[in-house]
Assembly symmetry: C2
Homo-oligomer: 396 residues x 2
């Protein structure tokens, strides 16, 4: 079914900035009205699915990806060739069991893997100055997490799914889970916001601002028009990735992984890159720029910074979930300092205040924020059980 | 006395890269042999003093400054005009009481406020290619915290001080305190390493590497030779400062200071710099570049990263302090995540293992690493009492 649905709309797809990858996608000509007041039309949603949608269309699990993730959840990445980012969790017999569930993941609005975003070509009618087709670049409008969710709703409607068995995601994916539950409560039977919070903290905004300053400061960013010369602001984007990467790990994880180990030397040599952690970070930065678009990074980090569910509901976070029938599993990780457990607890208190059916689990781990992506059996069992419970309630 | 001592050597001082500031300094023609095997000759030590050295020369307290600090401890900064960086602690009647003690602070070796460092002019004989005088730049040798301490020893000897009443410092200043106690134990009656650790952690090295990558990536760095065109790598250095600044604060401090407060707008406007914390950070970055040299930043952050006292003593940290007669006050701050209390505890365990007379205090505060610079009365009373005890033991 997925294939049949996808093929027709794909013929309407404008050429991608990454033409070597034929992303599976749907184009919605009517477009999408954004929180900012702007309209993106047409709007394109790139996606991948795993497993089979049942006849009742009742076994769909929507997975929402994080800042630098994408729709390639459980298969090799088309650029890097590396395993999908959540293969520890999504697959046959796994917590998100593709033998049982129909798993959908869309590239977020503003992303750079085929959905409408700064790297995609602007529709001719949207281009401020007529002329040859060119990417949106910094003319891509400001978006919010809720806008991302609205674009995913188009895709879910397109599949003819009235109610998702579950919406699941970590980090920025968890923010989307919360917006799904608040914006389309009747469409979400179960919601698992993982390693996230109901708002982005001042410290997290500050780290994002460092990354953005690094990109803006790179002369190859060219005020956002780097596509004109076929350049990319590789140095700035790499620095942004490096600082973000530190926040994804814990001090303990970095210490265990690298400590003060030296590179190819038994004694201090007073050279550059003398510590393994340095070359690791530089490597993370340098590979990131081969798969991610700098303007996308700017757009999506801004969307995360804007995220504050309470402020969307008059300063009253419980109001976002009042009278919900969605069941929640909130999961945090003890060594996550990007989204500390305390922020998950605040979310749980709001869900309880809204009388939402809520489970909460804090996983003991020293792997930091990245733990949600890694081998954490206790977390996987909790998520698997939560989804089986949701499935049994609807007879899947 | 200070003036008399300082005047003669000043006539030997090579012209400074910051000629508008007539730093008080001493030039040591014999130079300094470094841990790396290189020699800096002559070596210059810029410094400031407060209070009066007594006739027995027994009331001297050496203050060691942090990464971006300098010798202007308790007086307006000659570039920014702002109060000295430790006026909360150093002054008449304060914890480091200048009515009672003779306080010395030297600009660290590798710094950019008059001591030998990358921004200072290279001695003609040291220049690899003969020609016009030019700054060391990246030809300044790699240095260690111990090298910084050795340069300060020259200054202390120059004052004719055989034994310092105390050596005191926070952060990188604390690292120097530890090296003083380990390298010249007979010269240190009391040592107060504050908000520091006996080694630089992988996470801290990683944050430094982000800052260095930002500087290296700035085309105005010009491979370190930015002085040739009179440029400075302002954008890269600013990003380095921004990321470091986040690590100096706690999440709670950032949250309390800024939270998600918007700049001049009551509702989300989807503009750049929409949050106060962003403009604050950008401001911190932009002002830093007016007073700090990028190559100095590279040199000093490297020295911090190299710091690992145990490895200097065969992997045995207590060996660094064996048979010491120095008394120690180790102080940490509960919300400091750059140098967490656990690292101070490890230091205290090593001092105890070495049978050193050691007090330890953890100050409860939400101000993060920066707390050592701020109004923390409990800390100030502890430090003041520790110094009075040391003074009374020698009859000062």
């Amino acid at each position: 079914m997925t294939e049949a649905l996808a093929q027709t709309p794909q013929s309407q797809t404008p050429p991608s900035q990454t033409p070597q990858i034929d992303h599976q996608r749907v184009v919605f000509p009517a477009g999408l009205a954004l929180d900012s007041g702007a309209v993106i039309a047409p709007v394109t949603v790139a996606y991948r699915t795993y497993g089979k949608l049942n006849a009742q269309r009742s076994n769909a699990v929507l997975v929402c990806h994080a800042l630098t993730g994408d729709q390639y959840v459980a298969e090799p990445h088309p650029i890097t060739g590396k395993p999908g980012w959540w293969e520890a969790v999504v697959g046959p017999g796994k917590a998100v069991d593709t033998d049982r569930y129909f798993v959908i993941c869309a590239n977020v609005l503003g992303g750079c893997m085929g959905s409408s975003g700064p790297a995609e070509l602007m529709p001719p009618q949207a281009e401020p100055t007529p002329g040859a087709s060119r990417p949106y670049g910094t003319d891509f409008p400001s978006i919010t997490i809720r806008d991302m969710v609205r674009s995913q709703k188009l895709l879910v409607d397109h599949f003819g799914i009235a109610r998702l068995l579950a919406v699941v995601g970590g980090s920025m994916g968890g923010m989307q889970v919360l917006e799904w539950a608040a914006t389309y409560p009747e469409m979400v039977a179960a919601a698992a916001p993982i390693a996230c919070a109901a708002y982005h903290s001042a410290q997290n905004i500050a780290f994002h601002e460092v990354g953005r300053a690094a990109i803006h400061g790179d002369p190859d960013w060219m005020g956002g028009r780097y596509w004109e010369d076929g350049r990319i602001p590789a140095k700035g984007l790499s620095v942004a990735r490096m600082v973000a990467h530190i926040t994804y790990l814990s001090e303990a994880a970095l210490g265990r992984k690298f400590g003060r180990r030296l590179r190819g030397a038994s004694a201090l040599t007073f050279l550059e890159d003398v510590f393994e952690v340095e070359s690791y970070l530089r490597y993370q930065g340098s590979t990131f720029v081969t798969r991610f678009d700098a303007n996308s990074y700017l757009t999506i980090t801004r969307a995360m910074d804007y995220f504050d569910m309470a402020s969307e509901h008059g300063g009253d976070l419980p109001a976002a979930f009042r009278n919900t029938t969605t069941r929640f599993l909130v999961a945090s990780f003890s060594s996550d300092w990007l989204f500390p457990t305390e922020e998950s607890r605040a979310l749980v208190r709001a869900l309880n205040a809204a009388a939402a059916n809520t489970s909460f689990i804090e996983i003991s781990t020293d792997k930091g924020h990245d733990a949600f992506l890694l081998d954490e059996p206790v977390f996987h069992r909790a998520l698997g059980g939560f989804l089986r419970g949701a499935a049994e309630r609807v007879g899947v």
